[in-house]
């Protein structure tokens, strides 16, 4: 019966079965089990050593009076002259350590393994064979997502009994323990699909993914630690979203987090399936990008609408800065995922007029604007512009209603300048990715990274802090809001004109290049002959 079950299971997803066969070899499993048990033993041993001895006057685990400004307590000795131990506190520390460690292991190790594995398969060309099989992309990718990180999952599953035991002894409710598991699984789904997305972008640096996750996880953990002292005090906490108190109950918090991660995972899932089927395609279709941006903007916009604590001061402009910084990262990602490379653009420019494409669904009336907005092979500039228009449409009414002393004019222009800066980035990225360099992806990333980071860093180093004299320079940086307070209307006007000129120049150059690329060989030959 077991072998029958195994047979049905392996037929269900061949990719997962292949990962099981390749990874769960007895040697690997024994090593993982040994490492997992060793680390559990080490944690227990460390906390055991921290228990108060016969002569300890104070300890975290004693049962006496709590010291002022400290979590330490005085030790009370029992009849046998041993200090009485607060075992619940001790087990809570075991629980807390494992609650930090277990998600960390599956996230960091899983992301690293997925990026490395897919990068290797893509580089060696083995992924092509899987692509050529009649398996659906969903089945193969699901097998990869579940199968590749099996080893860290085995290590974590072996630590679950201790985690549960610690939860029981520490008096942590089942709902909270379950929430940790649920959120870990949701986070894994999101970060695993995101790492496949990253690998499909042509990056095979597993360590970079792992470091990013390490960093994000540490930040999230710090935020949680900081919110421990917020009221109501609970293990997991988050504030308000569109005035909806997502942190009020555990159920609301977990639901919000899981639904958010699920939607984000869904978007990743669509993108990676699309890219798996055809690795020459851009990661996102233009249509998908519009929906993704809309949902993302609504998501981040929600955090603006919250009740402020009595001790806090409300500053809408600071909220807008937060939104713009997050948007800067979002749109850079979007530019990378939407911008087609040289070959796609050449084919588009050269054969668009032929009217015959592989996809018979696309044999219809073609207008250029429609293609620039919807076709995946066309340049991404107009589509990115449309994506950039969304936060303007969404945030402007909110900015117009500011009444806490922040200047709506400054807010609006900050939004406009950020958008203009990103638009220039998009056109530059398109220009570089249309270039002949083999390392155009790296060049594009380096150039865009440099124009974002270097000017503000340079200005700060030479002491050109945001003020009236240097406001113009700050308006041309990735952080125009820094100089907005000091900029006069004339400066703003001239800067906008300058942005417009640069954008027009770059766009004209792009159009000329595309037109040239679209010329037939005969025309190019004739032009060459007439010159000579």
């Amino acid at each position: 019966m077991i072998s029958n079950l195994l047979l049905r299971f392996s037929d269900w997803n061949p990719q997962f079965f292949r990962e099981v066969k390749g990874r769960l070899k007895p040697r690997n499993v024994w090593l993982t089990a040994a490492a997992s048990l060793f680390i559990q033993a080490l944690i227990m041993l460390y906390l055991w050593v921290a228990l108060p001895g016969q002569h300890s006057p104070y300890s975290r685990y004693c049962t006496g009076k709590q010291e002022e400004y400290s979590t330490w307590r005085t030790c009370v000795l029992d009849s046998a002259k041993f200090p009485q131990i607060d075992w619940q506190a001790w087990w809570f520390d075991v629980f807390q350590t494992l609650s930090w460690l277990l998600p960390f292991v599956v996230l960091v190790a899983g992301v690293y393994m997925l990026i490395t594995d897919l990068g290797k398969e893509e580089r060696r060309g083995t992924l092509n064979f899987i692509r050529l099989s009649p398996q659906t992309s969903r089945s193969v990718l699901l097998g990869k997502l579940v199968g590749v990180p099996l080893i860290p999952w085995v290590a974590v599953l072996l630590a679950l009994p201790l985690h549960l035991l610690a939860a029981v002894h520490a008096g942590v409710s089942f709902a909270e323990v379950g929430s940790i598991y649920l959120i870990t699984i949701a986070a894994c789904a999101f970060f695993y699909t995101a790492s496949v997305f990253y690998a499909f972008m042509g990056a095979a640096h597993g360590w970079l993914g792992a470091v990013s996750i390490w960093f994000s996880y540490s930040v999230a953990f710090q935020i949680w630690q900081a919110s421990l002292y917020a009221e109501p005090r609970r293990y997991l906490f988050l504030g308000q979203w569109f005035h909806f108190e997502i942190g009020k109950t555990l159920v609301m918090f977990v639901t919000f987090t899981v639904v958010t991660l699920a939607i984000a995972t869904g978007w990743n899932w669509l993108a990676i399936n699309r890219r798996f089927r055809n690795p020459n395609q851009v990661l996102l279709s233009k249509r998908q990008s519009y929906w993704m941006t809309l949902s993302f903007e609504l998501f981040i916009f929600g955090f603006v609408f919250r009740t402020y604590p009595e001790w806090g001061t409300r500053n809408a402009f600071t909220d807008l800065i937060g939104l713009l910084v997050v948007n800067l990262l979002w749109y850079l990602l979007l530019i990378a995922a939407l911008t087609p490379h040289r070959q796609t653009l050449l084919d588009w420019a050269r054969y668009r007029k032929a009217g015959v494409t592989k996809n018979h669904r696309q044999q219809w009336r073609r207008s250029l604007v429609r293609e620039l907005l919807w076709s995946d092979k066309s340049p991404a500039t107009l589509a990115i512009a449309l994506n950039l228009a969304m936060p303007i449409a969404l945030f402007t009414p909110w900015i117009a209603t500011w009444n806490d002393g922040s200047s709506p004019t400054e807010g609006f222009f900050s939004l406009v300048f950020s958008t203009a800066f990103l638009l220039i980035c998009a056109v530059m990225a398109q220009a570089i990715l249309f270039g002949k360099s083999r390392r155009r992806t790296i060049v594009a990333a380096a150039v865009i990274g440099a124009i974002i980071a270097l000017p503000p860093l340079g200005m700060l180093m030479v002491g050109a802090y945001p003020k009236a004299e240097s406001s113009l320079l700050w308006l041309f940086s990735a952080f125009p809001f820094a100089g907005m307070e000091y900029a006069s209307l004339t400066t703003i006007g001239f800067s906008l004109l300058a942005y417009l000129s640069v954008f027009t120049l770059l766009l004209a150059r792009q159009t000329r290049q595309l037109k040239k690329a679209g010329e037939s060989e005969l025309k190019a030959l004739m032009a060459h002959r007439s010159q000579t």
Binding site: N128, S133, R277, L346, K358, K436
Partner: protein, 316 residues
């Protein structure tokens, strides 16, 4: 009635930058054929095969496999079941055993038990790797890896097999083994498109030949027609006596267009334009003239000579 076409392309074009790798190719391969694709390096053979295998996007044009159009950005499960593709670099998974590797692909192609195990044993026997079934792939020789890749390509019994330089880098014995396997597959009814620089192999295997140059398909015809059109008949003769005596005797006969000594041997290659009865007459007259003949056999110009005669440069 014409046979059904296994592969048909219409205006198939692939452009890399300003370089047109494949130029408006209208390829037609009938079911059951072994079609040899030859041409110098960079002629566009690999690009053409990659497009047929849905591993590369065409810039323009259409591909039909058994009448059904192939679209790269769709799942095409039915078409994918019909295709088997062996690229020239045949990457494998070193962490799996031979059996597990083939089992994995059999599952990807949705082969169910007990057919799966049976098919695995069949292909392992065909590629002569039954004794290596439990070996790690990393321990196999290049020839074995090549054969394992071929086994992976045919595990799902495809109707159309696309082989890109399948014998490159193999020693003569491995090449012989490979040829034998291809013959078996042809007998099983597969349509095979094979590109190779080893023209003697293709001459032995193929029913049709396509010649590519600079992205164009400059020749696409059956091997028989190619020989009829372009190959001169030759006679190979050797004698125990003097070669000059034989030459003098031959010069008196009609249908002899020329002759040359095969370097390093006591044999003559004679270009002969007569039919079979004319060659019988020639043989009889030579014997009657007292020439001590030890060898007399008609042969044809090989594919390589024809290829060179067409003005193409072939790197062997």
């Amino acid at each position: 009635m014409a046979k059904e076409l296994a592969i048909r392309t219409h205006d198939l074009t692939k452009q890399f930058d300003r370089h047109v790798a494949v130029h408006e190719i209208d390829l037609q391969i009938e079911t059951g054929e072994v079609y040899g694709l030859i041409g110098p390096n960079g002629a566009g053979k690999t690009t053409l095969i990659r497009m047929l295998a849905a591993a590369e996007d065409p810039s323009l044009g259409e591909i039909y496999i058994h009448g059904e159009q192939l679209f790269r950005d769709q799942e095409n499960p039915n078409l994918k079941r019909q295709l088997g593709y062996l690229p020239d670099d045949f990457p494998l998974y070193d962490d799996l055993t031979v059996w597990d590797y083939l089992d994995y692909f059999a599952r990807l192609y949705k082969l169910q038990e007990p057919r799966r195990s049976r098919r695995l044993r069949e292909v392992l026997e065909l590629v002569q790797l039954s004794h290596k079934r439990q070996s790690q792939i990393s321990t196999l020789s290049r020839g074995m890896k090549q054969r394992l890749s071929l086994a992976r390509t045919i595990i799902h019994e495809p109707l159309v097999l696309l082989l890109d330089e399948p014998v490159s880098g193999l020693d003569p014995i491995a090449r012989l083994q490979f040829r034998e396997i291809i013959k078996v597959l042809q007998e099983a009814g597969m349509t095979i498109l094979i590109s190779s620089h080893v023209l003697s192999d293709l001459a032995e295997l193929c029913t049709s030949i396509g010649i590519m140059e600079l992205g164009y398909l400059v020749e696409s015809t059956s091997l028989q027609q190619l020989y009829q059109r372009l190959s001169r008949q030759q006679l190979i003769l050797s004698t125990l006596g003097e070669l000059d005596e034989l030459k003098t005797e031959l010069q008196q006969h009609a249908h002899i267009d020329g002759m040359e000594v095969i370097p390093g041997t006591q044999r003559l290659k004679v270009y002969f334009s007569g039919d079979t009865s004319a060659s019988v007459t020639l043989l009889r007259s030579l014997i009657e003239a007292g020439i001590p003949l030890t060898e007399f056999h008609p042969t044809q110009e090989d594919l390589e000579s024809i290829f060179l005669k067409l003005g193409h440069q072939q790197a062997s």
